[in-house]
């Protein structure tokens, strides 16, 4: 999944997979922060796979 997403041009920073137990609150915070930061680092990039209005006639 991740490979194909990246293959067609989704930045690796946008897609994260983690295994977090319900007991690992600190890991959750840590991952959420890192994910947010990674995605934010792409702020200037064009959004992909986002539909804002239909491109129709």
């Amino acid at each position: 999944m991740k490979n194909l997403m990246e293959h067609m041009g989704i930045e690796p920073e946008r897609l994260h997979f983690s295994w977090i137990s319900s007991a690992e609150s600190t890991k959750f915070v840590d991952v959420a922060t890192k994910v947010t930061e990674a995605a934010k680092s792409l702020e200037n990039k064009e959004k992909k796979f986002a539909k804002t209005k239909p491109k129709v006639a």
Binding site: K51, K53, P54, V56, A57
Partner: protein
């Protein structure tokens, strides 16, 4: 009707003048085949093409078109009230459309413009479009327009017909729209007395080069139910069919659509998309029952509609102009010529038909 002469040296300049009052659309080669595109300034239509893969019906009837819009903002007094979107219908000219494709518009109009219902989107687009046809001197081997109510020089549905005559075009001005267009382009050289004759000669030559045909003379007289039940025709053809939408989407005369709602942000859109009778969802009922549940049902529907129901309802020939696109594009070679000839020759007594190799 008058005939004018357009020197090819005046062609590009005329087109540039036209851009002041028309959006120009014409055939261009992109990737490896021709398609109709809006021609940006400086870009000329490629008048040396045979035909486009996708028919130019989308110029008037886009594959996806917003027909209504509404506000999805709960504070807006017009919340969820659908309204027609503001849309500019600028004058357009399709330059280089083939006569068979132009002949599809009056045919489709029988569906979109009736006494009871008038489709405003289709009609507005149609009325603001000028069709500048390009006569076919080199028909494709799959063309059968002459037996499908059209022809390589058919001018009934055009505003202007261009005939390539070496270093110039002979242009038959057929309607007022056509006259306005040639005036706007500044093309007004009289073609002389023998122009009509020259066109007729080329026309006869082109028509004689159409090699394939369909036989339609018995279709109206055939019993609808007999044809419907003619498994000899349907079973073998349906086996190969993969039920994709290629035939219907490349066809200039297929008019069916589906309506979908989409919401983006605070805007709701009602969108009309082409649909295809080949798709199982086309007839799916809300109950889950599908009256055309098998691919045989769907394949039969397409051909019965074009070659029988339409024939009976409008008494104006078949719902096909013989462009041959479905014949060329079908991934599994389902050939409307073969099926039409089978339907035309079907004998319900013996349950047989003539199978011609088209």
């Amino acid at each position: 009707m008058k005939v004018i002469k357009i020197d090819k040296t005046d062609w590009a300049a005329g087109l540039e003048k036209l851009r002041e009052s028309y959006a120009l659309i014409g055939p261009v080669k992109e990737k490896f085949y021709h398609t109709f595109k809006t021609l940006e300034p400086g870009r000329e239509p490629d008048m040396d093409y045979s035909n486009s893969r996708i028919s130019p019906k989308f110029v008037i009837y886009p594959q996806s078109e917003v027909i209504l819009k509404c506000s999805m903002d709960a504070n807006d007094p017009d919340y969820k009230i659908f309204k027609e979107p503001e849309k500019e219908y600028k004058s357009k000219a399709v330059v280089g459309i083939r006569p068979c494709d132009a002949d599809s518009f009056p045919l489709v109009r029988r569906n979109f413009d009736t006494e009871d219902y008038k489709d405003p989107y289709w009609l507005r687009a149609y009325e603001t479009t000028t069709l500048v046809g390009l006569a076919c001197n080199n028909p494709c081997p799959t063309c059968f327009c002459t037996s499908a109510g059209s022809g390589p020089y058919s001018d009934e549905s055009l505003d202007l017909l261009l005939v390539d005559n070496g270093d110039h075009y002979l242009a038959k001005v057929l309607t007022e729209k056509g006259q306005s267009l040639v005036s706007a382009a500044g093309w007004n050289d009289d073609a002389g007395d023998d122009a009509t004759e020259a066109i007729e000669k080329k026309k006869a030559d082109a028509e004689s080069r159409i090699q394939s045909r369909v036989n339609t003379e018995n279709l109206a007289g055939q019993s609808l139910l007999d044809l419907y039940e003619a498994d000899t025709i349907w079973e073998k053809e349906a086996f190969a069919c993969i039920n994709c939408g290629t035939c219907t989407y490349v066809c200039p005369t297929c008019w069916c659509f589906d309506v979908q709602d989409e919401i983006h942000g605070n805007q709701g859109y009602r969108i009309r998309n082409w649909d295809s009778c080949m798709y199982p969802l086309f007839t799916m009922h809300a109950s889950g029952h599908n009256p055309r549940g098998t691919k045989l049902d769907r394949l039969r529907q397409r051909f019965m509609h074009k070659l029988k129901y339409y024939v009976d309802k409008y008494e104006n020939g078949i719902q096909c102009t013989g462009c041959g696109r479905c014949v060329r594009m079908c991934p599994v070679n389902i050939d409307i010529r073969r099926i039409c000839n089978m339907m035309n020759s079907y004998d319900p007594e013996s349950c047989t038909c003539e199978v011609t190799a088209s």
